[in-house]
Symmetry: C2
Subunit: 315 residues, 2 copies
């Protein structure tokens, strides 16, 4: 396989009218240029330059070849300019995968991102299951997980940590108390999943003990807001994120159930493939999420949820 760099070296000699000037222009030693141009002539089997000390003349075939080289090098510059342009301004399509539960929160985050980068096109893929980024052409996958167990060529950017706690309305606890680990599985429960049927809560306590509670939830949904409302209304016990239950506790519409037990600590993170550079649009989205997600989670804690049975259900 021939060395294409010889073309650039030769063209620089012709353009700069000498080896010394070419070496200066390219920032390489003139011995290299001398050798490489000689090798190019040997390989092509013609003399491109006639030269003695202090005299240089381009042969006819050398001039023809030089003009082709200039065209080639212009093509290289054009190719690199296109790439540089594509990478300097975030633009083009992004496929973002996130659990449906993130929708209300992300409904505020994404519009500000899109207003900031008007040439980006965002497609949201609602799923919480593990995805194959390459196979499914996902640019970014937003998840809350204890750990990331995916393709090891994937890069993970962690945004914040979170735990989930058991909570129910005061009236529910008064009606079913006192509640123990053993009685949990017999009480009405809420689960964040997309299907009906059995669910399992994996809980840890402050001393590190682990306890799995198998239960048959009355309500399964993938939207935390729906589960929050159901808990406040006294439908059952939910295992909900700290950002949600904290505000419920403060407002008095929820109370902690077995507060020394919680889910293991989990990370809210984004996963993306990025071994060597990434498109500007993807980078911009990741940076935007890193900037606003922690703040948005904090704002969730500060929202005062409505009390049970006083909600206005009129449409």
């Amino acid at each position: 396989m021939q060395d294409l760099n010889d073309l650039a070296l030769f063209a620089a000699v012709v353009k700069n009218k000498g080896f010394t000037a070419a070496a200066t222009a390219l920032g390489v030693p003139k011995s290299k240029i001398s050798k490489r141009v000689a090798q190019l002539e040997d390989r092509l089997g013609v003399r491109l330059l006639e030269r003695s000390t202090r005299k240089l003349r381009v042969t006819d075939i050398g001039q023809t070849f030089y003009e082709r080289c200039e065209t080639i090098l212009a093509g290289v510059d054009e190719a690199e300019t296109i790439v540089a342009a594509a990478k300097s301004e975030p633009a083009g399509p992004i496929r973002l995968s996130m659990p449906p539960g993130f929708a209300p929160m992300m409904a505020h985050i994404l519009p500000t991102f899109l207003k900031r980068y008007p040439q980006v096109r965002l497609a949201v893929v609602m799923t919480n299951r593990p995805v194959d980024l390459i196979e499914e052409r996902i640019d970014v996958a937003l998840r809350v997980r204890e750990s990331y167990e995916g393709d090891q060529s994937v890069v993970v950017r962690k945004f914040t940590s979170t735990r989930q706690f058991l909570a129910a309305s005061p009236s529910f606890v008064a009606a079913h108390g006192p509640i123990t680990l053993e009685s949990l599985s017999k009480l009405p429960t809420l689960a964040i999943q997309e299907h009906t049927g059995r669910a399992v809560w994996s809980l840890v306590n402050t001393t590190g003990e682990v306890c799995d509670i198998a239960h048959n939830p009355i309500l399964s949904a993938v939207e935390f807001g729906m589960l929050e409302r159901a808990a406040i209304e006294g439908v059952g016990i939910g295992l909900l994120p700290d950002s949600i239950v904290e505000r419920g506790f403060r407002a008095g519409v929820l109370v902690a159930v077995l507060p020394e037990w919680s889910s293991p600590e989990q990370s809210m993170h984004a996963a993306f493939t990025s071994r060597h550079g990434m498109l500007p649009a993807v980078r911009a989205l990741i940076d935007h999420l890193a900037e606003v997600l922690p703040r948005t989670v904090q704002l969730c804690k500060e929202v005062i949820p409505q009390s049970p049975a006083t909600a206005d259900w009129t449409i």
Copy 2:
């Protein structure tokens, strides 16, 4: 200065749909391609290929870049094809420098060459002085010299050796004899030069003695035929090439004067610049001269010159 070969390696990966196939196609180790493509992505700051083990997908920007690379590589092939075509069939202009004295002999040699290579265009520069091949754009310089004292980047191809001998007509010798070295300078002489005025014959004898004869020639010309005719007609003594005097001796129209003395041995040769390849046309000319010059010189010896005063001068 970036490595343009990375473009070829990347394009091969895309074209062959994988690193392993590209390595096979190019005959380079796949570790090299892996590293070089990664370096290209780092340098451009974008990901051209999304890949994990056994999965490869070209990104959008990678596809755009690949198309540009294919155009560039096609340009490289085209440039090399043009050079290859130019070098396979002798064609184009040649500037040949030779002394005017060669004209009659070359008048036969050059037509056969031009008939053989119809795409060659020959320009003959008539001069016997030393020339600067590069400065004066001379492709080949034909000369007869004791030695070549030119630019050391010049290559010399020797064709044949020759000496010049003193000769005059029998009637001249009868009228002016006996002729000695001492009397030479006072006798009518002929000189091969372009100007009137003094000339110097540098002679050596068979034992190596050297003798310079300064003389004031009656006739100066750069055409050996003209000097040969003048000698045969008894105009004076000439120092003529052995190929000419030998045939005159055989025909009886010339006799040797001081036959143990002659010019030093000289080479008939062609000089050309050729460090790295040469154009096919130039090479073909040199080869042609090497083939036919010695034979033409031999033929000159065999031509029977006309006797003095019997020449038909009618037009």
